[in-house]
C-alpha cells in the first residue's frame, strides 16, 4: 500500500524529516508516536502534498505509483485521506455541498442528490450526529471535538484506501474519543490501511493497531507489533527510547 524510503523534507532550509523509512501493508493499522517536534505531523502533511514543505530526498510509493509526483487532489482521488490536526474553517460552504463536491470529484458520473443525501444521513447516524449537521458551514465556529468528528465523517463518506489520522484524538473528551475510535474501527478492512499519528496511547487502546512506531528527530527509531510499545511509552516516556536510539 505505502512504502516510504529515506524521506527527507523540511521547511525553508530547516530539515524536519531526516530519512523516514516505513512500510504499511494493505489491511494494516499502524500507529506513529513521538514527542512534540519529532516530525510525525510533518510526515502526514508531506504525504498529503502540503506545499509548504519541500521534499529534498527519498521516495514514496503509494499503491505502486510515485506519490510525490502527484498533486494533492490526485493523491486524494487515488485514495489517500488526511484527517487534519487543525481542520480549516470555510465560511458559507455547507458541509453537504462540500462533501458532495468532494465525492463527485472522484467519480465518473456525479451521484444524484437523493443518493447522496441517503448516504450522508447513514454516516451522520453512525457518528451520532444530527441531520442539521450537513447544513452547517464547514468547521465554521466548530468546537475542537466537532471538527475532529467532522474529519471522521468525511473519511467515512469518501471511503479512502489509506487513512492518515493526524492527532485526531487531541482535544477530545472520553465520549468523543469513543465515537471517533468507533468510526475508525468501522473503517478497518482488509482492503484499507490506516496510519494513526498520536501523542497518547489512549486512542490506541480502543483501536488496537497492528504496529507501533516511535518517531524521534525526524526518523522512525523503533517499531514493534501490537500495542505494547505504545503502553511502554505511556508508562516510561520517550527518554529510554531516546537513550537507546542515542539521538
Amino acid at each position: 500500500m505505502l512504502k516510504i524510503t529515506n524521506l527527507h523534507a523540511g521547511i525553508t532550509g530547516q530539515e524536519i524529516l531526516r530519512g523516514v523509512d516505513l512500510e504499511v501493508a494493505t489491511g494494516q493499522v499502524h500507529a506513529i508516536m513521538g514527542p512534540n517536534g519529532s516530525g510525525k505531523s510533518t510526515l502526514a502533511k508531506v504525504l498529503a502534498g502540503d506545499e509548504s514543505y519541500e521534499v529534498t530526498a527519498g521516495s514514496v510509493s503509494f499503491r505502486g505509483e510515485d506519490l510525490l509526483e502527484q498533486e494533492p487532489h490526485e493523491r486524494s482521488r487515488n485514495g489517500l485521506f488526511l484527517a487534519f490536526q487543525y481542520p480549516v474553517e470555510i465560511s458559507g460552504v455547507t458541509i453537504a455541498n462540500f462533501l458532495r463536491t468532494a465525492l463527485n470529484a472522484r467519480r465518473e458520473n456525479p451521484m444524484s442528490a437523493m443518493e447522496f443525501y441517503g448516504l450522508l444521513q447513514d454516516r451522520l447516524k453512525e457518528l451520532k450526529l444530527d441531520d442539521s449537521w450537513s447544513t452547517r458551514y464547514l468547521n465554521d465556529g466548530f468546537s475542537g471535538g466537532e471538527k475532529k468528528k467532522n474529519e471522521i465523517l468525511q473519511m467515512m463518506l469518501l471511503e479512502p484506501t489509506l487513512c492518515l489520522l493526524d492527532e485526531t484524538d487531541s482535544g477530545l473528551d472520553v465520549d468523543a474519543l469513543k465515537i471517533v475510535s468507533e468510526g475508525v474501527n468501522r473503517m478497518r478492512s482488509p482492503e484499507r490501511s490506516i496510519v494513526i499519528v498520536t501523542h497518547y496511547q489512549r486512542l490506541l487502546e480502543y483501536i488496537n493497531p497492528d504496529y507501533c512506531h516511535v518517531m524521534l528527530n525526524g526518523r522512525i527509531v523503533q517499531s514493534a507489533p501490537g500495542i505494547d510499545l505504545a503502553r511502554r511509552i505511556d508508562e516510561q516516556g520517550y527518554e529510554l527510547i531516546r537513550e537507546q536510539a542515542s539521538v
Partner: protein
C-alpha cells in the same frame, strides 16, 4: 442568416467570459452618427414621436451633461464620447410574441437563455437589444390585475400622465453627469406600475444586451409600487467583448408608496470593454421596504451605488451587493442610505472579490438627518483578495445629525489562505473548483436571498470566472 457561433470556440479567445460573442448580421433601421449633439437628441425624440415636454427634458439634460465636469472621485473614466453611437435602433418593432422577434436576435437571446427563463418561472419578461426593446410580455393574470409592465417608450406613450408625474423626480438630470447623459439620450428600459395591494409573487425580468461595437446603452427604468403592493424586478445584462469601449449608463428610479415592498435584483455580467456608469435610487414612503440586490461581474469600470431615500416613517432600505473584479477591471460600488423620517432602518451588506490585478472599491454613504428619531443603520463590508496584487479600498461615509440614531459599521478584508486551498484539494477538489467553492461561500449570505435559479446562475458565473484563471 446569422453567424452566431456555438459558444465554446469563443471561450478560447475571451477567457471565461461566456457572453462575449456578437451577432454580426444585426440590422439597424437607424444608426445615429457617432457623437452627441442637439441634433442627435432631436432626431431620436422625433423618431420616437415624443411629446414636447420630453424633448425639452432631453435638451435640458444634454446642456447639463455638456457643462458638468467629470466626477473627480471614483474610477478612471476614459471614454471617447465622440466615438460612441448614442442611438441604435434595431430593425424590428417591439414584439409581444417571441415568434415575431427577428431570427438573429432570437438566437442571441436564446443563447443567453432568456425565453427559457420566461417559460420557467417569471411573471413577465422584457428584452432590450442595443437602444430598443425588442420583446415584452406580461402574463395575462397580472395584466388583468392592473399591473403595467412595458418598455419605457411604450410606457410614455400609453401612460403619459403617470410618467410625466414621476419621471426624473427621484433622479433629476442634474444629479450627476451620467444621469444627465441618460436623461438626454435614454431609450428603452422598463416602466412598471403595480396597483394598490397587488402582490406579484413571481419576478418580472428585463434583459439588456449591448450588441454593436462602440454602442451606448441608456435604458431608463421607472418602477412604482402603489400602497401595499409587492414586486420583485430582476435585471440581467451582457455585452460582446469589443476592443473599443462601450458605454452602459442607465437610470433606475423606484417609488415605493406607503406599505409597499420592492425588490430589485441585478446580475450584471459585462465584457471588459464596457464602462458601466449607472444611477439607481429609490424613494421609500411610510412603512415601505426597498431592497436592492446588486451583483456586478466584469466591465472595465463600474460605478454604481444603489440608494434609498427613507422619507416615510418606519421605511426600510436594504442594499446587498457583490462585486467581482479581475485583471483590468475596477468595481467602484457601494450604497447610499438617506434617513429623513423617524424610525427608518437601513442595512448595507457589501462583498467584493478582487482577483489578479482587479480592484474593488466600496464607497458608501449613510446620512441621518436631524429629526429622523430612532433611525438605525448597519453597514457591513467584506473584501476578499485572491492574489497578492489584488486591491481593495473602502470609503465609508457616515453623517449623523440625529442624537437618537444608531449606526454600526464593520469592515473586513480577508485572503484565501493556502491552508484553505490545501484542505479542499486534499479532499480531491481541483484548484479552480476549490477557489470557486471558497468564493461562492464568501458571497453565500447574499446569494441565498436570490431566487434559486439566479443564485445558481451567479455561482455558475463565479465558477466560470475561476476556470482558466488558475494555473
Amino acid at each position: 442568416m446569422s453567424d452566431t457561433q456555438p459558444s465554446a470556440p469563443d471561450l478560447l479567445n475571451i477567457g471565461s467570459y461566456e457572453a462575449g460573442w456578437h451577432d454580426a448580421d444585426a440590422r439597424y433601421s437607424f444608426k445615429a452618427e457617432p457623437g452627441l449633439n442637439e441634433n442627435v437628441v432631436r432626431q431620436m425624440s422625433e423618431m420616437k414621436n415624443e411629446p414636447k415636454w420630453m424633448l425639452d427634458f432631453r435638451l435640458r439634460s444634454l446642456k447639463h451633461f455638456e457643462e458638468r465636469p467629470m466626477p473627480w472621485w471614483g474610477g478612471r473614466i476614459d471614454v471617447d464620447f465622440d466615438s460612441i453611437y448614442y442611438y441604435l435602433k434595431p430593425d424590428t418593432g417591439n414584439n409581444r410574441s417571441w415568434d415575431d422577434v427577428p431570427e438573429e436576435m432570437k438566437q442571441t437571446f436564446e443563447r443567453l437563455g432568456i425565453p427559457e427563463a420566461e417559460r420557467r418561472s417569471l411573471a413577465g419578461v422584457g428584452a432590450q437589444y442595443d437602444s430598443e426593446t425588442v420583446y415584452h410580455n406580461l402574463k395575462k393574470e397580472w395584466e388583468e390585475a392592473g399591473v403595467v409592465f412595458l418598455d419605457m417608450d411604450s410606457g410614455l406613450r400609453e401612460h403619459e400622465d403617470v410618467v410625466r408625474e414621476h419621471f426624473g423626480t427621484v433622479i433629476p438630470p442634474e444629479d450627476n453627469k451620467f444621469s444627465a447623459l441618460n436623461s438626454a439620450v435614454w431609450s428603452g428600459g422598463s416602466f412598471v406600475y403595480v396597483p394598490k395591494g397587488v402582490k406579484i409573487d413571481i419576478p418580472l425580468q428585463a434583459y439588456f444586451r449591448i450588441n454593436a461595437d462602440k454602442a451606448g446603452q441608456f435604458e431608463r427604468t421607472l418602477i412604482i409600487a402603489d400602497e401595499g403592493a409587492f414586486v420583485h424586478y430582476i435585471e440581467g445584462c451582457t455585452a460582446p467583448t469589443w476592443t473599443s469601449d462601450s458605454l452602459h449608463s442607465a437610470v433606475v428610479e423606484i417609488i415605493a408608496k406607503p406599505g409597499s415592498r420592492i425588490r430589485y435584483s441585478t446580475v450584471q455580467n459585462w465584457s471588459n470593454s464596457v464602462y458601466n456608469l449607472v444611477t439607481k435610487r429609490a424613494v421609500a414612503m411610510e412603512g415601505s421596504t426597498v431592497e436592492w440586490l446588486d451583483g456586478n461581474i466584469g466591465s472595465q469600470l463600474t460605478m454604481k451605488y444603489p440608494s434609498v431615500m427613507l422619507v416615510g416613517e418606519g421605511a426600510r432600505g436594504e442594499v446587498m451587493s457583490i462585486a467581482y473584479a479581475q485583471d483590468g477591471q475596477h468595481q467602484d460600488t457601494g450604497a447610499k442610505m438617506v434617513h429623513v423620517a423617524p424610525g427608518t432602518t437601513s442595512r448595507i451588506i457589501a462583498k467584493s472579490i478582487s482577483r489578479g490585478l482587479g480592484r474593488s472599491t466600496y464607497r458608501g454613504l449613510v446620512r441621518i438627518h436631524n429629526g429622523a428619531r430612532g433611525a438605525k443603520s448597519s453597514v457591513d463590508c467584506d473584501a476578499l483578495l485572491l492574489d497578492r496584487n489584488s486591491r481593495t479600498d473602502t470609503y465609508p461615509y457616515i453623517e449623523v445629525e440625529e442624537d437618537s440614531a444608531s449606526v454600526g459599521h464593520e469592515a473586513r478584508v480577508s485572503k484565501v489562505s493556502e491552508q484553505q486551498m490545501f484542505y479542499l484539494m486534499q479532499r480531491g477538489i481541483e484548484e479552480s473548483e476549490a477557489l470557486a467553492l471558497i468564493v461562492n461561500g464568501f458571497i453565500e449570505p447574499i446569494t441565498k436571498q436570490l431566487p434559486l435559479e439566479y443564485a445558481v446562475e451567479l455561482n455558475r458565473l463565479i465558477e466560470l470566472e475561476m476556470e482558466g484563471s488558475v494555473g
